[in-house]
C-alpha cells in the first residue's frame, strides 16, 4: 500500500526514529510502512492519521480508489 508518510514526516523534519518513538513502534516498522513493505493495522493507521492530523485516506492509498469510483 502506498502512503504519504515519508513526505509528511519530511515536512516536519522528523527522522524515522522520531516518528517511531511518537508511535511507540520500531524504526524498522516506520521504514516498512513508508516503503510499502508492510500495511499497518487499523489502530496504527488511525494513530498515524491522528499524529499528522489527516484522514487515513489522505495518508494511505491502496490503489483501488479510482477503480472503485469508476464502477
Amino acid at each position: 500500500m502506498r502512503s504519504t508518510i515519508r513526505a509528511l514526516r519530511a515536512e516536519r523534519g522528523w527522522s524515522q526514529q522520531h516518528l517511531a518513538d511518537l508511535l511507540d513502534v520500531s524504526r524498522q516498522s516506520v521504514n516498512a510502512i513508508e516503503t510499502g513493505k508492510y500495511d499497518p493495522s487499523l489502530p496504527l493507521a488511525f494513530a498515524i492519521a491522528r499524529l499528522f492530523e489527516r484522514s487515513i485516506e489522505d495518508i494511505f492509498d491502496d490503489g483501488l480508489g479510482v477503480a472503485n469510483a469508476a464502477e
Binding site: 513502534v25 520500531s26 508492510y38
Partner: protein
C-alpha cells in the same frame, strides 16, 4: 512519555533477560555434566540436575512469549514468521536426522540439541528477512 516507551522497554527487557539466561544455559550444558560423575548420582540428584539445566530455557521461552505480546505489530509479525519458518525447517531436520539414525547412518543425537537448532533456524529466518526483504 509512559506507554510511548513500551516498545523500547519491552525490547530492553527481552535482551536483559535473555542474554544472561542463554549464557547460563550454555555454561550448564557445556560444563554442568563435567562437574559430576553422573553414574554415581542418585536418580533424585540427576533429576534435579536436569531440571536446573532446563530452567534457564524455560525463562527464555517465557521471555519470547512476553516479547511477542509486548512488541510492536511489525516486529511481532516478523518474529511469528521467523518462529514459523524455524519450526518448519526444524521438522525437516527432525525427519532427516530421525531416519538417518533409524537406518544407523549416524549416531544418536541428544534431543536437547534440537532445541538449540530450532533457535539457530529462527535466527537464520530473521537474517533472511533482513537481507532478502521477506516476507
Amino acid at each position: 512519555m509512559g506507554p510511548q516507551n513500551s516498545y523500547r522497554a519491552a525490547s530492553k527487557h527481552f535482551l536483559v533477560t535473555v542474554i544472561p539466561l542463554l549464557t547460563l544455559y550454555g555454561v550448564l550444558v557445556v560444563f554442568g555434566h563435567r562437574l559430576f560423575d553422573l553414574n554415581s548420582l542418585s536418580v533424585t540428584a540427576r533429576t534435579a540436575g536436569a531440571v536446573l539445566t532446563f530452567l534457564p530455557m524455560m525463562g527464555i521461552l517465557w521471555s519470547i512469549h512476553r516479547i511477542l505480546q509486548r512488541t510492536d505489530e511489525y516486529t511481532r509479525m516478523r518474529l511469528f514468521w521467523a518462529l514459523a519458518e524455524g519450526g518448519i525447517a526444524l521438522s525437516g531436520v527432525l525427519f532427516a536426522v530421525g531416519f538417518l539414525e533409524y537406518f544407523d547412518v549416524i549416531p544418536e543425537i541428544p534431543l536437547f540439541v534440537f532445541g538449540s537448532i530450532f533457535y539457530l533456524l529462527v535466527a537464520l529466518a530473521l537474517l533472511r528477512q533482513n537481507f532478502f526483504k521477506v516476507p
